[in-house]
Symmetry: C2
Subunit: 206 residues, 2 copies
């Protein structure tokens, strides 16, 4: 049976998306072919656009359009956060996406810093690869009062938090870690034993 | 908090993919940004390519690269299926994807015809919209001995099968429908009552 090479190429290419295997990619490709051409062309253009026109803020690491990133480079102020924020506090996350999650869920009024992942020496990710050197420069230069560590509870996330804590103590900066425990509205029966055991050991007196 | 417009554009564009909502699209976009640029550019190119370089076979309706579709247009033979196949049998499916599924799962040795969906007058899809007129031309022209209906068991799929059956009987062509019932290796406890009731009523004497 004949097949379309270009269609198979697309199916192959779609599998780079997270959670998309061969079957889902096939389904996506067939649906794209039946969809209006404009939508597919639009998707192709937007994909190219993030490669050419998106870069990172050189201060906090969130993704910015090139023009904003250049403005930021030529500015003394941190433009990503609005005026009137407490720049003496820095919340450290393991990815730019986490910054938006914290920004949208809390009333935190400080500044941010995104690492590019967690420490993982076996994978060749040391302090300089994940941006800790840049963080240290920021600690030296600015007048920082508190560092809030929001990396995850994986082994790598904890190691990263520990490393940054050591670093901050050298500079006499207060360090805090976001709280881990039972999620609000969570039921004990549905939680893993690690979380329950942690919550139990870290109980607070009322 | 500043955001990247181009990144948000991509997130919006990704939601045209089936099963991809806002959250999954965000996850995809962030992962694409951290991935090697080549892979994203490749995906963008492959998407453009299916718009410009893929069309349909004018006989069976499967997707073909343009050069193959042109070859097919200038040929009397049906090039999609290999030589030595029984061209007097036609299996009718509701989409090109279903042709490959049947081809890969069965030892069927006949020809195919893909409709572009099922009849659904309320959505403006009548016999000419879904390709039944083209099917009828093929029934008139070629010497067809059997039509195998492989549309689904939805109301629209059944209506389409019924319509084609009427059409074929006008041309004195034998029509068969693929069998519906309990899936092989399926457990009764996990099946819907419609399937079980159908399988029970259509029981075969041994």
């Amino acid at each position: 049976m004949k097949e379309s090479k270009y269609l198979n190429d697309l199916i192959e290419a779609l599998t780079i998306l997270p959670g998309v295997g061969k079957k889902s990619a096939q389904r996506m490709a067939y649906i794209l072919l039946r969809m209006s051409k404009d939508k597919t062309i639009n998707l192709a253009n937007k994909l190219s656009k993030i490669i050419t026109d998106v870069s990172s803020c050189n201060i906090c690491g969130i993704y910015l359009d090139n023009e904003d990133a250049i403005l930021q480079k030529n500015s003394d102020k941190h433009l990503c956060i609005g005026a009137g924020r407490d720049e003496s506090k820095i919340c450290v996350t393991e990815s730019p996406a986490d910054i938006y999650i914290i920004e949208n869920s809390t009333d935190y009024n400080g500044d941010y810093f995104s690492l590019t992942g967690n420490l993982s020496p076996l994978d060749g990710r040391g302090p300089s690869e994940i941006g800790i050197i840049r963080l240290e420069e920021r600690l030296k230069k600015n007048n920082i009062s508190e560092l809030i560590l929001a990396t995850s509870t994986t082994v790598e996330g904890e190691a990263t938090a520990h490393y940054i804590q050591q670093l901050a103590s050298k500079h006499n900066i207060k360090v805090s870690r976001i709280a881990f425990g039972i999620p609000l509205n969570g039921e004990l029966g549905y939680l893993d034993s690690d979380t329950i055991s942690h919550a139990f050991n870290e109980r607070k007196e009322l």
